[in-house]
Symmetry: D4
Subunit: 251 residues, 8 copies
């Protein structure tokens, strides 16, 4: 993955140890990766923006330890979502302070570096049960350098709280809205603001909510413009998209 | 279907032409229906409230003519929904003024008698495309003796029209709300009123609206209380339920 | 949320401490909520009718304690559905008699005040397994001031019990019908009465019942008129809708 | 497909032109089909009972002509379902009276022989729109030797017609019940009879009927015992199953 | 539920204590049920054929004890499906030998009387995992007077076992075929026999089997004639339908 | 909708024609809308950003003419999506140059004003069949002041075109990616860039593509971060979201 | 896409017109594509095996003409699936013999070169209606150098034809099996052969076939090993996979 | 199942103890299976290639012991998939070394004989969580005589690892690709190779992944050619298909 091999070929050509035809052939048979030194560096730069997200459920503790170990070895960074406290504790006992844990968000970070503050994200939930996913968004935003304002539990019964907070809307660069059940909140919020709205359907509800499908379909079918939807319960994805928008705004 | 046969048995018993045992046996072998004169009269009375609804699509014109003919013959009444204008014209050329047609609602009535006015129903639609179904509700309500107020096309962009019409809400006995796409309007209306709300998902929309499924699931999953949902595009059902509630209110 | 700020502006205008233009600007920049004192009072009045329903599963005990605490603090009322007995016991040990528990209905109430009796609701179930949801409806109705008659376990094998209770039908203002499996009972009941029928699909059944979907689709597709459907297992919603209809009847 | 080849092998063995080992080897390498003369004769006998059903939609007229031609060539018989009148006319102009057409049932038969009458099937529909599928069942039953009684259009509004015809139930060997929408009729019928009931969901309805899915799920989830369900709109299948039951009854 | 009240009315009429008009009025206001003595006796007779099935999961032990108690009190009979051994033991400790348990079938019977043997049912499964459902069918058939032959685990790998047992097919009155996964076995069996085939999709499988949906759709879509399908895992329903067919055959 | 009424109340108070209590009461009974002059002005300002989108299918030409007429009357602006050329021609013959039509995008605009250029959006499609939806996005972006670069038909076979255009990625503020079938393209694009990606599933494909569902699910489930998804075929929504992000970037 | 630019850089380095550092920088900023001359040649080689498939429905004739034109311009090759005869005729009138049409398969080819024969594919269908999709597979295989044997219409009624053709199975390198309805045929075929089986669900059927879903689920859930499934009606995909397997066998 | 009976018939014919007609009759009434000695031997030979797969979940330990016992008794071989370690231990304590266990793959084998090495399969996973299914494929391939190369965890973040391993692609006979979530990896791999690709959707993911459905639909809808799909999480099926292709290649 370093440009050494190409430099060597060019040096040999330069010294006359190789003909042009031989150099071209040598380039042709180089492993693909070696050819890409420039692109890959560029790519790594990009990836500094958003660390890889690793979904913890379904992975064994040893697998997670090994993944964390590799990430630290290559001085990379990763966010483990939906991590249990007991798994975190195993990580911590091995890697110490290189691992951080955010309990409400069920997030553990490995090697994630502090970023400069770049903007503000407003996070709104329809209900109390949406908070764990909202915290996943919030912590993701904060890790990526965004200030976060939280406006939780403003569903139908609290609609006036929404309208009484229009100034918070104006102060945000992006608004993330989480809702389960019928998932109508993002439509209402998008109707009240000119900011980009990221909608997160949550699996809160029962019966015809179908674990978030009703909310998902409602958000996708919304008659309000300017809404981008992410997967059910995908708090990380919403946070990462928000931070991407904010980062580009400051760029 | 008339009580003549029972009367005859009782008379014969009375005259001594029959023993009690014979009378009981005679009752036992009577066709079921004859036994039910009382219940059936009672039942017919009930059915005077709400005429039978006949869904026209998938029926041939001759079938519809025959059904209409039978209904008129037994002095009954029926509402044909989703009837095309050409089918109506065939009905009209045969039965004349006994058949009425409501073009916007795509409803034809056969033998439906005028009722006394019994209350008021407010009908609200989210968009223009919901109007044909809304008219099906409206005409049904009017046929069944309700006054109807129409408040059409008050979706997100017109939310202020909703809130500026709260007095109309108070003046209604029941509110019918129709919406396609994400179907959030009934939740919002139910949050603003203490009247019973009947929600009608419509098949308006595309993609993840899935011909009304998104709206249906949203309405069923609504976090607002006091909402009863009917089938997708079932304007007649909503109208009939509204009239049933109004009629019982006046009872 | 009080009208003090507006009164203050008007006083200053009245005293000549402010011009009309200044008063209008002062009104314009008031927090939204302050402008709404009238509406909000009106709104609170409405909400006295039906307390907020809070779905307990997926909320931690501390969250539920905090929600209950806030509700009591603002002298509001709420119904917690699907609450486990152990969670109730934690609530009770903290708030004492302000919290009530209805075991069969799995309902806990916080701050719910006694209402005057306003009418009667008949609640019918197809089977024994539907009873927990039916009790959720029954307790909701009773809390909201309705008398409740229960007619449980009258499915196919008990169809004669249905027909032998037609007088109970006549005595009710509204009928709630709960059924799982194929969910045909509401259609049959609606065919026997002129009262409004609220249908509750339950998740009772297996295989092609799909946890209540077969019953839900059947109820929505019913060829009987005058049926409003609520979400699968939504006993609270059915009770709240029934009480809304009854309350408006007496209004 | 004839036993000639086996006879030839046995003859050669018998004449001493072949050893036993050679005969066994000759049998082993015989085409599979030749070995099965006995079974196949047996199988053909079975198939005399129920002719093959050929679903016409999606087949071109030339393909249908070719299939019919082959069936007649091998003196077999077949039932073409959902055949349009124009396709029938092309068949008829080529094969004449060997082809018969049943317009209401949209069935054409090729080479189907008259059977002796073997029993009686009662066919019940919930509505008028179910009749084309019911006729497919009726004609199938008649072709296979069953007498058919028709009891059409006895849905909710005609429930008393059901109960007033209990004697027709007793007189039937099998009852076929067709219904669209919520599909509750087979449950009701099965609750009133001890005869086998075959349920046919039809695609009649709209919205949450989902072209017969609501009826199908309802019939499968029925709480009544003794019901076998066939595919949506599969009138032929129901008729064939009914005839199979009747035929075995008389066996 | 007895005809006493009617007899009394007739007696009073007979004695001249009542006019015909009074007698008719008295009949009219009789509870529905009393009018039906004949029908209900007839109905009970029917129900002697197939005991009510009660699905145990989702019912508490006290509920099951109460149901059993009522059934025994009215000298009725019932089959409890999917009953756990521990629940059975509670039933047994209370009702003793009036309750029987069939462990492999997970069936408990209450008050079920021995029937005369009436015919033979062949039960075939594709795999080993289908056996619990198959035993539910088998025990149901045996309880209802059928002899049962079991041919288990004859899927693809055992196809030759199917074809080598054609004589068993001929000896049966009805064949029940159970299969999960792709559910192809009923199609194959129906192609080899002229007996009625009852298909039971089971929830055996994973992934795209969708807990029996793949098998269910396959069985409904089968190109073989003469197949009736029951709900996923509905062993009781298949057994009851088979016994109904057999019983009618002997009638 | 104008502040006149409030001004009048304040004037009367100011002149002493009204007490403070009377003024407060007068404010309380004002129609909701009148109270909101400030908010509504603010709201209208917001809506200047994104004109209302009106989905044309399902609306009659007269309805569309009336909607357009009202929009022009209140000097508002709207975008009609999926408009046929013939409907446009009727609009044009009535309103002339106030209506514009974009044939490839099937968009007609009414009263839409030119905006200053505010940034650049890159629009990428997987295939040729995605172009109509892509053009809907492109025209929407252009109407809202964005420059648009089009990179069409870069699916699997053209993957190298993607990678050879990384500089175009860097030059864009937002990237919209449209794909039908398996919908994998947004994942790949998001892996190559640090710009916000808006994913549009299209209904291109057949069979298991299920009219865009496969693409929709794939985009929602993407393992790449920084993707917001809109409804199937919702080119307008994607364009409006992109413009919202761009506009906020420049704010 | 040619290596000229790299050669030029190397020449300049070789001539001393450039330092090694400059050459590396020049390589780094080269468009991605230019770097890939070797890979791309390799890639083109691969693509010679299987031409790109272009799904015609949803594309206008001008779009198809333009695509064909580009393909011919770059001496590439493509297969247009589901092409109507009229579209083909427009292609032919412009490009003449460079375009070929296979009517039964609804395939047009552009620039597809003749391949050497490489093996044999057996194609089996359950019914007549599956033939258009089967021909799509067959023509694809033939274009790619495979001999094709066709064994059409061997469903349940023709099962003996299957077993009597086991030698055809042995002679094939790969077997493609197409079936609609319950889709059981691939399971049966895979149970009779040790050849790789490619299963193609077709949209043949009605009701619970759900346009191929029943067949698709059945094939995926098959209890037979050695089956790979392609999309519903994807004859091209099956043919391409078969040819890929055959070509690799001969490699 | 042995040819003894046929030999006996031929002997008797040969000895003159039977006429040809008697011999033919004797053959006709032979159990089906006896006739098939040749075919069955042939069939068993086929099955030596791929042992039967037995899905362990849902089977009790005694059932599994009995199945294993029968397989060993008839000197057959089987692969038990998804077997828990504790069940394996019970098998091992009874059958000792005849049973082998592969922990990562959750596979136990009974009687599986060593095969000669016949080719190479490359197995690629998108993520770490796909590994258990991938190991099921890998162990299956190895048991069937294939060498296996593993290339795990090469999703979006590791795309360069894919492209840097193109030589591994060339060295493989078949490539198995496993992915959950959006399941895009097989499309990408198939675009980079001319080898047959077997795609395995895994149930890895959450929300709109729907336990593997998103991946399944994506793989079926892939725009890349040459992909065969197996059931969700069906590692054994993929391995068996791969080995079938490899074995036929060497044949």
């Amino acid at each position: 993955m370093n440009p050494k091999k190409i430099e060597k070929i060019l040096s040999r050509l330069n010294r006359g140890d190789m003909t042009i035809a031989e150099a071209m052939e040598a380039l042709r048979v180089l492993p693909y990766e070696d050819l890409h030194f420039a692109k890959l560096d560029h790519h790594r730069e990009l990836r500094k923006g958003i660390p890889e997200a690793i979904y913890s459920p379904g992975k064994t503790d040893p697998q997670i330890l090994e993944i964390a170990s590799k990430i630290l070895a290559r001085k990379d960074e990763a966010v483990f979502t939906r991590m249990s406290k007991t798994t975190y504790e195993r990580l911590h006992s091995r890697f110490g302070s290189k691992v951080r844990y955010f309990k409400d968000a069920r997030i553990a970070t490995v090697g994630v570096m502090k970023r400069a503050t770049i903007g503000k994200v407003l996070i709104i939930t329809a209900g109390t049960s949406d908070i764990p996913v909202a915290e996943e968004s919030a912590v993701t935003c904060e890790l990526l350098g965004c200030k976060v304002e939280r406006l939780y539990d403003v569903g139908v019964a609290g609609m006036h709280r929404l309208t009484s907070n229009l100034r918070q809307f104006d102060a945000a660069d992006v608004i993330i809205v989480l809702a389960g059940m019928e998932g109508a909140l993002p439509s209402v919020v998008a109707g009240l603001t000119s900011k980009p709205v990221i909608a997160v359907p949550t699996s809160v509800g029962y019966g015809a909510s179908f674990s978030g499908i009703a909310a998902l379909l409602g958000m996708l079918s919304s008659c309000s413009s300017g809404i981008g939807v992410v997967n059910i319960d995908n708090g990380f994805g919403a946070g990462a998209l928000a931070a991407t928008i904010v980062k580009n705004k400051r760029a």
